[in-house]
């Protein structure tokens, strides 16, 4: 049986997540410790900033769940209350569904984000390294990756950015096409400006200039980007060079006036200029937007785009849930089929045993036959056995994948006296 126990951003506050995360990270042999618990056969440990989960294959439902809960609670030194309210348990189809949803980023805080799949893959790699997974979890993970891939390609869940800084990058691409060789001017050394700058560089932009009131802070940020720092008084000259300007100072008035932009446009021969004003109160005079070839976006404009994209993702998530459901059904029927496998194997080996012993008994008269004829008799016996076994095996597989293996497997064990 597949079990999934853990907590995430929806069930546990940050403080609890931190405690458990730190506790689990400290543990050197977490996976082998879980495997030492009675009845646990396979295990996988997923930990990200938003979730800590154990996925196990185990027998003995309730006892095992208790043991696993205790294990997590001890590691994270959670109180009984915390463990009770924060930890969730999923069994069988629910656990499968949850795993698929996690991998497909449907359970993430920012739905559709791409990092989670990488983190799940890394968790699987660790488990493989320590030989902690087996037949059931290996397939579960491969199916999770497949589901995630399907969700990414068949729905537009990750198509449009849902963070302000990425929305700015997307806009820059709509204006400039390729960002390679584009020059960025950061006005103010704020965190948001830095983040947006990082994304722009990641998308090919090359030169960064930082203009700041305090030169120490500006220089530090400029060094980080291998750019240069200038004083706010040199802004006009910098505006002529820049293609993308990101402003985020704490100044009370406008740092860049429409007039200064109008003048710089003449000097920059009307090259397109993308202005991002993420400061509140605003740094760039709003009327600058009416200047030809100037595109000014403030924080509200960007937030509107983000909101719209978020709404789009929620719509796409419905399609994604349908894909997850399909995959759960497929995986579940494989799991059920698996329950019939031991019986099928012992049925086949019983038949094989009978064939061997009967052939040995007939060795005396068979020696009179030529080599070729003996082979023919061999084949004949084998094919009779196979034909007889074909129907019960097929029915067992079908029945167990569609309904349950219990009844049919018991019947077969009884009919063929497999347990004697």
């Amino acid at each position: 049986m597949i079990l999934l126990i853990g907590l995430n951003h929806k069930t546990a506050p940050l403080a609890v997540r931190e405690k458990l995360f730190a506790g689990c990270e400290e543990k050197q042999n977490l996976l082998s410790d879980v495997l030492l618990l009675p009845a646990v056969q396979e295990v996988l440990y997923i930990s990200t900033c938003n979730r800590i989960e154990l996925v196990c294959v185990a027998d003995g439902e309730d006892k095992t769940i208790e043991a696993l809960k205790r294990f997590l609670a001890q590691n994270g030194s959670l109180t009984d209350e915390e463990a009770f309210y924060c930890l969730y348990v999923y069994r069988e189809a629910e656990a499968i569904r949850h795993m698929f949803r996690v991998a497909a980023s449907l359970d993430s805080q920012v739905m559709g984000e791409a990092q989670i799949l990488g983190q799940v893959k890394e968790a699987y790699r660790q488990a493989l390294k320590q030989n902690a997974t087996g037949l059931v979890l290996n397939r579960l993970m491969h199916r999770s990756f497949r589901t995630a891939k399907r969700v990414r390609t068949e729905t537009a869940i990750a198509a449009n950015p849902v963070s302000v800084s990425f929305a700015a990058v997307e806009l820059a691409k709509k204006i400039f096409g390729s960002l390679s060789g584009k020059k960025i001017l950061l006005i103010g050394a704020g965190e948001m400006a830095e983040l947006t700058g990082t994304h722009l560089i990641g998308n090919g932009a090359e030169e960064i200039t930082v203009a700041n009131r305090s030169s120490a802070q500006g220089t530090a940020l400029a060094e980080k980007f291998h750019g240069k720092a200038i004083m706010l008084t040199d802004l006009d000259a910098a505006l002529i060079e820049a293609d993308i300007v990101i402003s985020s100072t704490g100044a009370a008035g406008y740092v860049v006036t429409a007039e200064s932009i109008r003048q710089s446009m003449r000097k920059r021969k009307n090259r397109l200029l993308f202005l991002v004003d993420i400061a509140v109160p605003r740094d760039i005079e709003p009327t600058a937007d009416s200047i030809e070839n100037v595109y000014l976006y403030n924080i509200d404009n960007l937030q509107d785009i983000v909101d719209e994209n978020m709404a789009g993702r929620k719509k796409e998530a419905l399609k994604a849930e349908a894909i997850v459901e399909e995959e759960v059904i497929l995986y579940n029927s494989w799991i059920k089929e698996l329950e019939a496998v031991p019986t099928i194997v012992s049925l086949r080996s019983m038949a094989e045993g009978i064939v061997q012993s009967e052939l040995e008994k007939s060795l005396g008269w068979m020696q009179k036959l030529s080599e070729e004829d003996r082979e023919k008799v061999d084949n004949l016996v084998q094919s009779v056995v196979n034909k007889i076994l074909h129907a019960p095996v097929a029915v067992m597989k079908e029945e167990s994948s569609e309904v349950s293996s219990k009844g049919i497997v018991d019947a077969v064990r009884q009919l063929f006296r497999l347990d004697e």
Binding site: K173, K174, I175, Y295, I305
Partner: protein, 276 residues
């Protein structure tokens, strides 16, 4: 099979693929999926190949390009238009531009189909390698201006979406402003000298036949005006630095102006170019 029927078959194939790609492009604009525009670009490339083969058979048929009728004039225009567009597709990712240029190409081809082959040919006394030169360069130059205007039209749409902060499906579908401006720039840059060569060839020929470089003919006057205005635009772009929305708007306006005047001259005036 004679060369003439081969020419007809090739033209019909080109027309069929052109209709297909125009539908594809317009549909991709409608359902806002760029993949359809990508496929349509390949369909247009097939149509272009058939047009090229068709033109080769025309040249073999008439032993050179000196005897082009109005039908082949239109076919050649369509060929130049799609060739220039496809050329740009090698360098830029502006597949959606096809949605603007392909209806124009299709109209040219439908117009060509409505003309009987071998009719209203160039009069005997006007056939010369100079008129061929005049025709080829003027048409390629004009095809480039058509593309410049299409890119301009798309720039206007994208610009207005971005200015109104509407980063919706449409804006995501259309190419970036820089790419569109670059196409507008390159088309003017190449179209102008080509048209200049075409006009000079025409003028030299006019000088030889009518003893004047610029006969007082409505079509010639309009074309000359077009040449002057495009020259002015190119000058403003290169020397003054006009870019982006202003250039896009002007090239569209000029194009519409000349399309209207061309049609007016075509139907209400008698000109020296009546065979076109």
């Amino acid at each position: 099979m004679t060369l003439f029927s081969l020419e007809m078959i090739l033209f019909q194939l080109a027309l069929a693929f052109c209709i297909l790609c125009t539908f594809g492009y317009l549909l991709s604009l409608l359902i806002k999926r760029v993949i359809l525009a990508k496929i349509s670009t390949w369909v247009l490339a097939i149509s272009f190949c058939f047009l090229t083969l068709g033109l080769v058979t025309v040249i073999l048929n008439t032993a050179g390009l000196t005897n082009l009728g109005s039908r082949n004039f239109l076919v050649f225009f369509a060929w130049a238009g799609s060739g220039v567009y496809l050329g740009f597709q090698l360098k830029t990712k502006t597949r959606l531009l096809g949605a603007f240029i392909s209806p124009f190409i299709l109209l040219l081809m439908i117009a060509a189909a409505s003309q009987e082959a071998g009719k209203s040919l160039l009069p005997q006394n006007l056939q010369s390698w100079l008129t061929t030169l005049h025709l080829v360069f003027a048409i390629i130059g004009e095809a480039l201006f058509v593309l410049a205007s299409c890119a301009g039209a798309m720039f206007i749409i994208q610009n207005s979406l971005l200015k109104h902060k509407k980063l919706g499906k449409m804006s995501r579908l259309l190419p970036s402003l820089s790419d569109l401006d670059r196409i507008n720039h390159l088309c003017l840059l190449w179209g102008f000298p080509l048209l200049t060569i075409g006009i000079i060839a025409g003028a030299v020929f006019a000088g030889m036949v009518w003893k004047t470089l610029l006969p007082a003919d409505p079509k010639i006057i309009w074309s000359f005006a077009a040449w002057v205005i495009y020259g002015f635009l190119l000058h403003q772009r290169l020397a003054i630095g006009w870019k982006g929305s202003r250039m896009a708007f002007l090239s569209c306006a000029v194009f519409i102006l000349f399309l209207v005047s061309f049609l007016a001259v075509r139907f209400y005036f008698t000109t020296l170019h009546d065979f076109i």
